[in-house]
């Protein structure tokens, strides 16, 4: 299957909207997604697998008497299949119940230029090139520590495109690239197995460092051997990038969604203008961040992505909106309607959730800690209470810090608390910003977290 070009994609979407209107839809919106991904995978210490995945499809959302119907198909080469899909969405809308809050799709607005989101070099990479990248990552891991076993990982290169057309005149096409490499490892020594240690590097342009990923994944596993338990008490905790992403994804990132706020599912409801975090915390949701993993010209409804202040010096500024929740409050969408490909209707998600960095190096941040933990990853973060922000998770891998130095890895320590207390207790941030999914942040130091050790 070939890549559909901009004009072909737009015309396919326009046609779907036309069919919907012709058959009686009050409004219609077509979304087309294409994804071409080549991967070379590492399994149990060797490169053993390669794949080429092509996914293309059309999702159509229509409105009839304020009731919304949606249908999708991945057979976009056939006019009959597209028509059938559009008719299905209409049938669904007519069978459904009207939504009194429905106030129409979005209107056309100019799109900003985004930077660092497309690199033709990535499209031209051959599977042979990806084997070389995976191989250099694997070699680097093996050279770093012989007790380490690379269990899985690999390299992937993707070209993605998206188009939105709606009956209010919205019409957009955007394409981008992503390249990533990752490695998961464990270390074994005299019967002891470490938790899985993971590193990765994902970028929109061809600027990744597989050797660093390999070395780092191996180094972490080696450093996780001979773990000890810690006492139960409140202590300082440094959340490294992955741990911070896991902690916030299921709590704060939900609490700022307008949908959760409007439906009384957010502990931040009514707190705009109030202090919800310590003064050192400033966060923007930046859909236009240069090279951001979630940077696109427009969101899943064709609304321009933008930079929205969320928390400035600890004070809550804004929630994030899609078109529906924004119109419900008589305001404008913040461009946060997210689509998981063509298979679903949009839902609200953060774009690039960008923390302002601090000034200290990670070593200096560790140096500030008298007694505490450095936590790389959390287990069980998805079992947090999304409404209240309460969490009860395992910190793994994690290391004990005493008097400004890492002294040993930690086994089986649980962290419990409330994410909104954690935000108020952030005392410092490092300067080592990284992109992990939608989070763009450095390490953060939290003054007091309950650690349950034994």
């Amino acid at each position: 299957m070939a890549v559909l070009k901009e004009e072909e994609t737009i015309s396919l979407a326009e046609n779907a909207v036309k069919i919907a209107l012709k058959h009686g839809a009050d409004e219609a919106e077509a979304f087309i997604y294409q994804g071409f991904t080549t991967t070379v995978a590492i399994e149990r210490g060797q490169i053993a697998k390669s794949s080429r995945i092509i996914d293309q499809g059309l999702g159509i959302r229509v409105v009839a008497n304020k009731a919304v119907g949606f249908s999708y198909t991945n057979i976009i080469g056939s006019k009959a299949a597209v028509k059938e899909t559009v008719l299905k969405s209409l049938k669904s809308a007519r069978a459904s119940k009207p939504d009194k809050d429905w106030q129409g799709f979005s209107y056309k607005k100019p799109y900003a230029n985004v930077r660092g989101t497309f690199d033709s070099t990535i499209c031209e990479l051959s599977p042979e090139d990806l084997v070389k990248l995976s191989s250099s990552m694997l070699d680097a891991a093996e050279k770093t520590d012989e007790r380490v076993f690379p269990i899985e990982g690999g390299t992937g290169a993707s070209y993605l495109s998206r188009a939105v057309v709606n009956s209010n005149g919205v019409m957009g096409f955007d394409c981008g690239t992503i390249i990533e490499c990752s490695l998961a490892t464990v270390a074994h020594e005299s019967g002891e197995v470490t938790p899985v240690c993971f590193e990765f590097n994902a970028e929109r342009i061809y600027k990744i460092d597989p050797e660093w990923v390999g070395r780092e994944a191996a180094r972490l596993a080696g450093l996780s051997l001979r773990a000890k338990r810690v006492e139960t008490r409140n202590m300082e905790v440094i959340f490294a990038h992955f741990a911070l992403q896991q902690l916030l994804y299921y709590t704060l990132m939900d609490a700022i969604k307008a949908d959760c706020v409007q439906r009384n599912q957010s502990a931040l409801k009514g707190k705009i203008g109030e202090k919800v975090a310590s003064e050192v915390v400033t966060i923007y949701d930046d859909g236009l961040l240069e090279g951001g993993l979630r940077t696109w010209k427009f969101d899943g409804e064709g609304v321009p992505q933008q930079k929205t202040p969320i928390i400035e010096r600890g004070v809550l500024q804004n929630f994030i909106y899609d078109n529906y929740t924004a119109k419900k409050e008589g305001r404008e969408s913040t461009g946060n309607a997210f689509r998981a490909g063509y298979l679903s209707t949009p839902n609200i998600e953060t774009t690039n959730f960008h923390f302002a960095v601090g000034e200290k190096s990670p070593e200096e941040l560790i140096g500030e800690v008298d007694e505490g933990l450095l936590v790389y990853s959390l287990q069980g973060a998805h079992s947090s209470n999304p409404a209240s922000g309460e969490f009860s998770v395992v910190a793994t891998p994690a290391w004990k810090i005493e008097k400004g130095r890492i002294v040993h890895p930690v086994r089986g320590a649980m962290l419990a608390g409330n994410v909104f207390e954690v935000l108020k207790n952030i005392s410092d941030l490092a300067n080592n910003e990284r992109k992990i999914g939608s989070l763009v942040a450095p390490w953060v130091l939290v003054e007091s977290v309950k650690v349950i050790g034994k």
Binding site: S92, S96, V193, P195, V196, T232, S344, S383, K450, I452
Partner: protein, 461 residues
């Protein structure tokens, strides 16, 4: 379909040098609904047709997928898969081999009493709305609810170059119910899931009102709950928590790909890892259960696999590749979420076998501990560290169930904890759920009530 697939399989072997080739075609139709409070967010329907082709060339895997099902495209796709495998084989140290497996020719049809694809969408809206209305009407402190509904019906076609050809109907009906309650500054949250491979009749077995009331009641009762003390305590786990514990804490470690990756079960086959009262199965043959099917995505029949017998590890869950490495028989655990991905080792219906204790006997000797009845997520690590979040729990005080606690979780090392299981109940429940391992799989987990002498309980702040 058979002719098309035969041509593709022959091309792989005759023209492109495949040692092994399998092609999996999916033709599926899905209906999805999301109800938020009393509103239908969108009624959704979709078609997903596609083919997945996996080959072994020079001992390495190549994989490619396609949305188009015509012969010419599929021959191109199989050629691409073979090229990918050849590239991957450049640095291969240990060529991949597959264990022998009988090639079946079979046709498996779903025989639902109520075929979801024949039920009008209006009826699906009615049932999901009933659940939502029941929850909203249960108590004014119920603030919001979301009810998701999915049904999926269609056929999978499987062929490999060893003579297997299987046409197998797929049928799933699933619903997830989320409800939140609020009183003052206290927020609570409760979840229920319904899932079946038998048909739409799953909503006749347990009425939507009952499911809705159970979810809402839990959210309301948790409002007055306190946070648990952190530390090590004796606990009694309900079947719902036992299920997720067995699945997360033990099951994943016994997936042979993860065992080979160095899970704590590596080298433990035939060895004792749990107390005598622990017997664990992974069973793909339970009729209508959410994790059941007749053939897996390598054409191997699903079976009832004994993993732990009286505390001793006796089996692992395999695909054909890992079975070859362990010199074992394949167990029918290779599953792929859809045509976009390769089959990997997944659980089916995983459970702990019941024994002889009544619930009263389990709690009577506990001076202070916790009764954890229902879970909210769980996760395991290869070193055996597990975590299970709890959405419904109570104190046990002097042998009696006491006040509710909220936002608890338990953690520990699987093998240490399995040794501390000192009594197993005689009841049994199986709960539907979804398991994530890069791909999503529909599963069930369950068991009876059990008592664990001590486990680490993560308390509130």
């Amino acid at each position: 379909m058979k002719d098309t697939l035969t041509k593709v399989v022959n091309a792989a072997v005759d023209q492109f040098g495949a040692e092994y080739v399998e092609i999996r075609v999916q033709k599926l139709f899905k209906t999805m609904l999301t109800i938020k409070e009393e509103m239908v967010e969108a009624a959704k329907e979709g078609i997903e047709n596609g083919a997945a082709i996996r080959v072994l060339v020079n001992g390495a895997w190549g994989f490619a997928s396609s949305c188009s099902l015509d012969v010419k495209t599929l021959v191109d796709v199989v050629s691409e898969a073979c090229r990918m495998a050849k590239v991957a084989s450049q640095k291969l140290k240990n060529p991949i081999k597959l264990v022998e497996s009988k090639a079946f020719e079979d046709s498996v049809s779903a025989n639902p009493k109520k075929d979801p694809s024949k039920i009008p969408i209006e009826d699906k809206i009615r049932i999901t709305s009933t659940i939502a209305e029941t929850m909203l009407g249960y108590d004014k402190r119920v603030k919001s609810c979301t009810v998701d509904y999915l049904d999926l019906a269609g056929t999978n076609y499987f062929m490999n170059n060893e003579g297997a050809y299987i046409e197998q109907d797929k049928l799933y009906v699933w619903s997830r119910i989320l409800v939140t309650a609020k009183e003052g500054e206290v927020f609570t949250f409760s979840r229920e899931e319904v899932g079946s491979t038998s048909g739409y009749e799953v909503f006749d077995i347990e009425a939507p009102e009952i499911v809705g009331e159970r979810a809402a009641k839990r959210a309301i009762e948790q409002l007055k709950a306190k946070t648990p003390k952190g530390g090590t305590f004796p606990v009694v786990l309900g079947p719902n928590v036992v299920g997720v514990f067995v699945h997360e804490a033990f099951g994943h470690l016994a997936e042979a790909d993860l065992t080979l990756s160095g899970s704590v079960l590596m080298g433990k086959l035939g060895k004792k890892v749990a107390s005598d009262v622990v017997t664990i199965y992974d069973d793909g043959t339970i009729e209508g259960a959410f994790g059941s099917f007749k053939y897996d995505d390598e054409g191997v029949p699903a079976q009832k696999t004994l993993l732990v017998k009286d505390g001793v590890v006796v089996g692992l869950m395999h695909n054909r590749e890992t079975a070859q490495k362990f010199n074992a028989k394949p167990t029918g655990n290779a599953r792929a979420e859809d045509f976009r991905v390769e089959p990997i080792i997944r659980m089916r219906n995983t459970f702990l076998e019941p024994k002889d204790h009544s619930f009263e006997e389990l709690i009577e000797g506990i001076k202070f501990g916790y009764y954890f009845k229902s879970f909210r997520g769980g996760q395991a690590n290869l070193d055996g560290t597990f975590q299970v979040g709890i959405q419904e729990g109570y104190e046990i005080v002097k042998g009696e169930v006491g006040e509710p606690v909220r936002n608890a979780s338990i953690s520990g090392n699987t093998l240490e904890t399995l040794y501390k299981v000192d009594a197993v109940g005689k009841d049994f429940e199986l709960w539907p759920g979804r398991c994530g391992k890069g791909q999503t799989a529909f599963v069930c987990d369950g068991g009876p009530h059990i008592r664990v002498k001590e486990v680490l309980v993560g308390g509130g702040a």
